[in-house]
Symmetry: C2
Subunit: 141 residues, 2 copies
Amino acid sequence: MQQGITIGNVSQASGVKVPTIRYYEQIGLLPSPPRTEGNRRSYDEGDLERLTFIRHSRELGFEIDEIRTLLSLQDQPNVSCEDADAIASKHLADVKLKIASLTALQHELERMVEGCSHGRVETCKVIDILADHGKCRFHGE
Amino acid sequence: MQQGITIGNVSQASGVKVPTIRYYEQIGLLPSPPRTEGNRRSYDEGDLERLTFIRHSRELGFEIDEIRTLLSLQDQPNVSCEDADAIASKHLADVKLKIASLTALQHELERMVEGCSHGRVETCKVIDILADHGKCRFHGE
DNA sequence: CGTACATCCTCTAGTGACTAGAGGAGCAAG
DNA sequence: CTTGCTCCTCTAGTCACTAGAGGATGTACG
């Protein structure tokens, strides 16, 4: 009888919080594990890998539905990976846009903070720039 | 009798959607405007500026509560702008972190998509990298 | 003047991806 | 045996909106 992994341990090992694991089970992203006599969830190595996969995908900014597709692809490895490729490519385009937008934002914020003379709001560029859109160089996203 | 601006026009002019404007009013971010005889909201130039300020701040990634603080600072211009400065500075730090994280992610995704041989999932790096955290160079945020 | 249609109103409920809390049961150590 | 930790289920809350129902009003045209 090989002992299963508790939810607390699988949480620690995967980096996914306990309530989040239960949430993933609830939305069908993670299969319901068997229970012990005392009704505790009992996970195995496969669950741990799946959870790590999920966490990592979330960190990379994939949405739950995308992860669902990715996981189903992983489950049947003889189909073409064009779908997975498409998801990642689409995501890559998004990420590039986001970086461009955030970089513009960074310059804008730097300009704001540098411009702030630490005096009164009347002369503070932070407020000024936010109030008057014409003075702003940020036009991202 | 100067005619007010309709919610639709103030929406167009500010770039904030109509339901969002009503939502902002509901949460007290935008003051309740006077109504016409027919119970329509009647905005003025000041409201338009405030909405533009809000939209721009949201675009820059400020949270509603931060905008609330910013707006209250704008309303009383003889206090120090250190608070506004602090908010913007904190936000700038966040943005820099996010950019670094997203850039790492970009490289990761590029590596994924380039590595995909357009064959079967078994040899697809997209799945591979997501499944095995050790193969991944992304450790952001 | 009538009628079509756009715009407006309020209200409730839904979204995504969790997070928090209540209220209780099981389990391991001292 | 008791203390305290982890676990269980369930409901409700978060943020910043968004969608939709069901109805009133305003405007343009014939």
